[in-house]
Symmetry: C2
Subunit: 544 residues, 2 copies
């Protein structure tokens, strides 16, 4: 039996594109003699469709796509993810379903049992959990079909009370197919390999696993579809690209496949961010990007990634110096534009901040200059960048990092703006490592001085980040424990961090919730990114 | 048996304040001879605590509060909502629990069965649903205790497959207590009365219902706790205020209570918005507000509500005229500040927009003036208001309405900014009705001309909203069908709206998702507000 895994990039709500892509894949697979082809979870409508699933019209379009695709499933079967209506009134109105298409029809529906509702996942918001289990019979084989999370309930502290495979295995299936929508994080591929291997070993059958590629705003899908054999063999599809791979069921364990090794962290992150940038522009129908280039590390890394994603002719870096901007910042920024071969613009903000200060003078009488004046610089820059975006149709890319977003060291409506954030899920120390990785693999686009200089916002003379924050190594360790690991102050102090520093940092994080609420979407590369996957109430007083 | 309902305003994560408030209420009730006192769902930590529930430290603090409160429950019992740990590894780690406190101890835990996971609710994100049912035995009475949603599964298309009361009623309880966290919308109190009455009639016992008051950022709780008797009698606690009411179980149906009538829509909305403004400032520890006053209807209504909530000495309206601002706008805005007795400031933005245009001139060469220049005006205003906020410590209140937020007729980082939005859940036609209600009940703070003039953003000469949008009556009808009722284009056109208009409006709504992602939190007054209760993917292409 020939089994194809179709690892494709869908576009949420773009039924025409998704449907024709799926039909094309089925036709090609049929030519290659494939018996059954599997597409990802909710491939019909794209993932995540979120509240579009509440629209009857949206579900109608999903159903129309399924019918259109089914017609092409003659002489080949397909398994495709999509929403289906719950036929009984009790419970949620939809199931998250794998449609088994054969003989030109929908022959069977397999519903998802375990509905991830944590981090970026909201599936119980829309779907009723499945409670009935049966394998698919096809050409003399029994196939155990499950959907993503259905295989993930293996831990010592499992999130769900049942395991769908425990029911399906009773029918003695020949193999299993899992269709998934499993977004990238830099640790997630290793987790997936682990979960698939453990399932294959536990149930002693081969598992075929197919995932999405491409980015949907903040969620990036790396593909990394695979076959896991009970003997431990893992056969992987490539990451971050569309790919249809065909496997012969009788030949998947011949030992001819190379052993799987997980790629290096910053190689994965670079690919993910490039895909995230490229697919945002592609899916929104945009071509050109603009960003503020300060001579600091963050904007330098974003600039390099944007050029890699969009091409040097499509990225416009803009220098926005103030009187506090050092000559070195300007020179290094220009040098970087030269190295990458892009155009660049320079707009001094001095006359603009002066205009603001002049009209505000009567109202600011008696106050010392301070934060308000610093924020005026950041907001003047933001307004200029948005003016260029509005006039030229270039899309503004944000350059903030996760450390500063965490503690609120950014100006709301100033440097915190943009269509989306590239580095918002990377701590400052990770941004440095990423810069080094990019320089090592991309012919040194980032001038060394930008990497080695002490970080500064340059909003007043001689300002340095270290004036008001602990060293980034310490800050980032504390932030990681609080944000990724959800440790409280006692636990973080017990790890050896200074009590006063920990209390101050956690208070800063919680008190900055109002800024993050209005932040752009952040390309997610960690297990816990700011944004839709982390929900906290603004007026709360916990640790603040 | 004397039963007290404690309708209180908790503060999320503020354990010290919540605990002492609860203990105080228990002590007072004990003095009044109360046998059992009921507090709202998750009162211990406040609602919604969202992802703070993922922190072990946060749950420890909840447990410590419960222990502290239990000590005071001698000679009186209490039912209090809080999270509790799931003792078995399988399933989510927490339950949403009603703690029955008596004899100085936690004597029983009753877990929530039906976990709302839709709109602003995310409960399955944190909690395992209950599957075991038993009444509480206390002083010879059997009490059916349930938590909020547990009573709401009555419709023809019920969201859940079971009804907890169907199990509890088998024990023949004497009465029922439901502890709730049920946020305000202008239709919700009528729904609550309906649900409680139907439960009382169906199960033929009295239902005691206790809810939160106060606002937690965007969610406003109106209280409106009540007793529903099987004969149809409804006894209501007041709305939008803290109140502890004591009922004698034997006397709750003597017919001496006035018949319940739902308050008028704009009376409710006014109270809700005032509470929302006041409690945001109160819980964040702020006192003074600043807002841009344009001479248009939206900022006028926000101004009037802010003064009602915070006092005239705490609200600073700022006029930010450009050369396109009509004299009438300035004069009417000043007149309104005079009527309300506040200070006001005037800052002309002309010199600032000139500065921007002058530095941008070389880059804008060959382009006609247009949207970029209009947005510069809005962003200059935003930057000035934020400068005042930063310098004076006044909190900026946003003045956008739901219609313009829906179709994206606002400038990101311009007029869309602020700590929170007061009118963002009211369509333009509703803002007019609210203005008339305020004038009728508050001695005409809003000059008549502001209400009767044709709406305009005044960003270019002679501009009117009707140049680019259908009349607000039509626009708002289409938006309501799409946003509140989740109708698709076919269904809205079938209701009699022009096809081209419907297609254009729905496309505008979907294409503006990126702006709403970065909008401030919006005080929720309808059943479907923009913000946490409406989640849509930005890059999606559905209807756009």
């Amino acid at each position: 039996m020939k089994i194809a895994l179709a690892q494709l990039d869908y576009h949420v709500g773009n039924f025409e594109k998704n449907t024709s892509k799926i039909i094309h894949a089925i036709s090609e697979a049929k030519k290659d003699g494939v018996d059954i082809i599997a597409f990802a979870e909710l491939a019909i409508c794209g993932y995540p469709a979120w509240d579009f699933l509440e629209f009857d019209d949206f579900i109608n379009r999903c159903e129309a796509s399924i019918r259109e695709i089914a017609v092409h499933c003659i002489g080949i079967a397909a398994i495709i993810g999509g929403p289906s209506r719950n036929p009984v009134p009790e419970g949620k109105n939809l199931y998250n379903t794998a449609f088994f298409l054969n003989n030109g029809n929908v022959e069977k529906l397999i519903h998802k049992t375990l509905l991830p509702t944590y981090d970026v996942f909201d599936e119980y918001r829309y779907f009723e959990p499945n409670t009935a289990f049966a394998c698919v019979d096809y050409k003399g084989k029994k196939i155990a079909v499950t959907i993503c999370e259905d295989l993930w309930n293996l831990d010592d502290d499992p999130m769900y009370t049942i395991n769908p495979m425990d029911y399906l295995i009773k029918e003695k299936p020949d193999f299993a197919i899992n269709i998934a929508a499993s977004p990238f994080s830099y640790t997630h591929d290793a987790s997936r390999v682990n979960v698939l291997s453990r399932n294959a070993a536990k149930y002693n059958i081969p598992f075929f696993y197919v995932n999405h590629t491409g980015a949907q705003t903040e969620l990036i899908f790396d593909g990394a579809s695979m076959v896991a054999h009970p003997d431990g063999t893992i056969i992987k599809l490539p990451v971050f690209e569309e790919k249809i791979s065909i496997f012969n069921l009788d030949e998947i364990c011949t030992g001819k496949y190379p052993e799987y090794t997980a790629p290096q962290k910053y190689a994965l992150i670079t690919s993910a961010l490039v895909e995230g940038i490229r697919d945002y522009f592609h899916k929104m129908g945009f071509k050109k990007a603009v960003l503020g280039l300060s001579g600091g590390i963050d904007s330098a890394v974003v600039f390099a990634l944007a050029v890699k994603a969009l091409g040097k002719e499509n990225v416009l870096p803009v220098l926005l110096p103030s009187p506090y901007t050092s000559d070195a910042s300007n020179l290094e920024a220009i040098e970087m534009a030269k190295r990458l071969g892009t155009d660049h613009k320079i707009i001094s903000i001095a006359s603009i901040t002066s205009s603001y200060e002049s009209v505000l003078k009567p109202l600011f009488e008696g106050f010392e200059p301070g934060l308000a004046e610093e924020n005026l610089q950041a907001r003047s820059r933001g307004t200029l960048l948005m003016a260029l975006s509005n006039k030229l149709g270039y899309i503004l890319i944000n350059t903030s990092n996760k450390s500063e977003i965490a503690v609120g060291y950014s100006t709301l409506y100033g440097d915190s703006i943009g269509a989306f954030s590239v580095l918002g899920d990377l701590y400052k120390t990770e941004v440095y490592e990423l810069a080094n990785y990019i320089n090592a693999t991309e012919n040194n686009p980032i001038p060394e001085f930008i990497i080695t200089r002490p970080p500064s916002a340059e909003l007043r003379p001689g300002q340095k980040d270290s004036d008001s924050l602990p060293p980034y190594k310490i800050l980032d360790e504390i932030l990681f424990e609080y944000i990724e690991n959800r440790k409280g102050p006692k636990e973080i102090i017990a790890q050896g961090h200074e009590e006063e520093t920990v209390q101050r940092i956690l208070k800063l994080v919680n008190a900055s919730e109002y800024k993050r609420f209005q932040a752009p979407p952040i390309l997610r590369v960690s297990e816990k990114a700011f944004g839709v996957g982390r929900r906290l109430p603004i007026v709360a007083k916990y640790l603040s």
